[in-house]
Symmetry: C2
Subunit: 159 residues, 2 copies
Amino acid sequence: MARAIFPAPDHDHDRCASSAIAHAETLCAARAQRLTPIRRQVLEALLASHKPLGAYEIIDHLAGDTRPAPITVYRALDFLRDNGLDHRIESRNAFVACVHNHAGEDLVVFLICERCGAVGEAPGGGVAEALKSSSRAAGFAPKSPLIEIAGICSHCRER
Amino acid sequence: MARAIFPAPDHDHDRCASSAIAHAETLCAARAQRLTPIRRQVLEALLASHKPLGAYEIIDHLAGDTRPAPITVYRALDFLRDNGLDHRIESRNAFVACVHNHAGEDLVVFLICERCGAVGEAPGGGVAEALKSSSRAAGFAPKSPLIEIAGICSHCRER
DNA sequence: TGCTTTTTGCTGCAGTGCAACATAAATATA
DNA sequence: TATATTTATGTTGCACTGCAGCAAAAAGCA
């Protein structure tokens, strides 16, 4: 199981972003999915930071000569999510690129720093099991647990 | 610790609702908070079911002679939430009355039935601890974990 | 080349959520 | 009781969210 990691402000972000793009290309090629320019641009916009972006922020980011319509961005985000390349942060109505700091289908716990806005992905691991057994005790057949934790990241706390 | 309970479709809902109102009255009186007509009506609207309601659904519910503005409803919802009388279901952008199936400040796990739409509140208990220690391992100081689980409730599964 | 599927563009709309200011009601203070 | 202060509600307006439905364009295939 991967360790919980919060993106350090001084990490090599260019490398982090380009490897995520490379991963997206490989994955789409393998699945015969098309990583079109728009989809790539949306992913790049998300990868520009580890902070969740709202739909309109993404539009602003893409707005060069032509400003894409909201639906265009939402469709790209849907595509990316279908392929596990981004996540939706429900408590923020916003999106982050998936940095795959978690195993395939596993539960992901999002750590959201209230100060710097960055989002880390921690592996769910044991929590997922505890949750599932606890909800089954209520006769509930769980599908997709969603866990988002707001707080202060270590980098912000040190300052 | 309370047991995880999903509201049964055949429970005595009138009693369930009126006791929630009574609790709200007691609590507001004790805190010198004012449970005004609007706030009460919004709470009653939420208590009409265990399904999360969107802001406009609440407006529809309240619309008699005068249709309240969205902001009016949002303010009432804020008040109720400040006093622990309702919860916001982030993944649905909707609200449910709190049925206090959990201890005071404890983490609440929301079980959301994808079929009937009802929402149950399960006590977080051990999960909260596991989450906190896991996120602390990432150097993260957690504040308010948010857990929402979609799935099928026992009553829907039996049918 | 023609056909089919996928993607993108366009228009429009219902819902979310709140800021900023004005008014009214309740509470506290003189 | 009159006045000031706080609290709640009303009003207007707007930015953002999210997607349906249809048309056009691009990509892939026969």
